[in-house]
């Protein structure tokens, strides 16, 4: 049993697949940090009384000076760029992951913890501990990873599954099976959209339709819980994993349509790339270009 488990966890995968994940996840992290720079600056100006540190930020006695916050965020962006390029990866990647954890934790330390960045941070941490720059990197170091290239990919899928599973378990622990009756979700959708409406933000395009037709929300509630509690199916790999990923992506699309809440990491598909074979996309692209030249 243990041998089968070890064999499954360490099943081989090409170095290019892990490298593709490094490039895709790292590029997303880089773009995210750069895109959030204005918001990072805004939270750095918030008064100290609103400071509510989470994660490693709890080590601080109070907020950092604005210049320090911006300097760390800029350094994080540079480190993520080196992470993507695979420069001095064994040294740079763990520092980049730590910087990303720090910068995003700081952004979440002002009274509300967002849930749009957790999986990104976990995936970057997993990649930082792996031989993810043995291919498709600037000056790749072909060391031939002794444990192979499959386990970090399995780890990323496990982390994805764990976060969705936790969300499903939280619903059952907090609300129980009452979460499925549709009323709880209806009130959540209504509350969230009213908050947007009173502050001049756009409400979700399908919110009023679904609120006026309650039974539709029962189906959405059941599907949500099934997708979250069914997340470990992604570890099965193959078609089952891809079907789960498609369902989870559809769930996030539903959240946009009902609540205008965007989880960009899964919506752009990056969260689910570990269940795919992204290295083959490059090969296909090359074939397509070759065919066009003929």
């Amino acid at each position: 049993m243990t041998r089968r488990l070890v064999g499954w966890w360490f099943a081989e995968a090409p170095a290019e697949r892990l490298a593709a994940l490094r490039i895709l996840v790292g590029t997303y992290g880089l773009v995210w940090v750069v895109a959030r720079m204005v918001e990072i600056d805004r939270v750095a100006r918030l008064p100290e009384r609103q400071f509510a540190p989470v994660g490693p930020i709890a080590l601080l006695g109070g907020p950092l000076p604005r210049a320090a916050v911006l300097a760390i965020a800029a350094a994080t962006a540079l480190l993520m760029a080196a992470f993507v390029a695979g420069i001095a990866y064994r040294a740079v990647a763990p520092v980049a992951a730590a910087a990303l954890v720090w910068t995003l934790s700081y952004r979440n330390s002002w009274g509300i913890a967002f849930h749009t960045e957790n999986l990104l941070v976990l995936h970057v941490a997993a990649l930082a501990c792996a031989p993810a720059a043995d291919a498709w990197a600037i000056r790749p170091i072909w060391r031939g990873a002794r444990a192979g290239y499959g386990w970090p990919i399995k780890l990323m899928v496990a982390l994805t599954a764990a976060t969705y599973l936790l969300a499903g378990i939280a619903k059952l622990r907090i609300a129980g099976l009452a979460w499925l009756d549709g009323d709880l979700l209806r009130n959540q959708i209504a509350y969230d959209n009213v908050r947007k409406a009173v502050l001049g933000d756009r409400i979700a395009p399908l919110a009023t339709t679904f609120l006026a037709h309650g039974p539709l929300l029962v189906a959405f509630s059941v599907a949500t819980l099934a997708i979250e509690l069914g997340a470990p199916l992604a570890l099965a790999g193959g078609r089952l994993a891809r079907l789960w990923a498609l369902a989870a992506w559809g769930f996030h699309l539903g959240v946009v349509l009902l609540m205008n809440i965007w989880f960009p990491y899964p919506l752009f598909g990056i969260a689910f790339v570990p269940v795919l074979a992204p290295e083959t996309w490059v090969a296909r692209l090359r074939e397509w270009r070759r065919a066009r030249r003929r």
């Binding site: 070890v6 913890a113 444990a147 969300a167």
Partner: protein, 146 residues
């Protein structure tokens, strides 16, 4: 032996991600290790929501954005308002004046004469489906000085 390190890394990362299961999901949320409690709690259909509004001299309402409260995030904006109200009338007035200063610098809101921090009692479903506005209780009011 070559697999010991990767196995340990895998166990630590998966274990850390699942560690919040040991906490109360409603109270123990954090970052980056979360209990993921979003959308899990029950909310009443009729609920009090505090926010800032802008009005012209004739009382016509103009829309504010989270940026007028010092953030780009809607949810962060509500945390800011709730925090100010929790600090009492002086904290609420201070926030009102901060918003008024930002409004004064916003050319799109040139006709706005005052800012109010209010608590609205809204039937959230009726508000969205039927346009029922609910009732407002004023917490603070301040003039926009240009």
């Amino acid at each position: 032996m070559t697999r010991v390190g990767p196995a340990a890394i895998s166990a630590v990362l998966v274990g850390a991600t699942l560690w919040p299961l040991a906490r109360d999901p409603a109270k123990g949320d954090s970052f980056p290790l979360s209990t993921y409690p979003m959308f899990a709690s029950g909310r009443p259909q009729k609920i009090a929501i505090s926010y800032a509004i802008a009005e012209t001299a004739t009382g016509a309402r103009r829309e504010l954005t989270p940026a007028h409260l010092g953030t780009a995030e809607v949810m962060q904006a509500f945390v800011i308002v709730d925090g100010a109200i929790a600090r009492g009338p002086a904290g609420t007035r201070a926030l009102c004046q901060e918003v008024a200063v930002r409004v004064a610098g916003d050319a799109d809101l040139a006709e706005v004469a005052r800012v109010r921090i209010v608590t609205g009692m809204h039937d959230t479903v009726a508000y969205l489906v039927d346009g029922a506005p609910g009732t407002l209780t004023e917490r603070a009011r301040c003039q926009v000085r240009r």
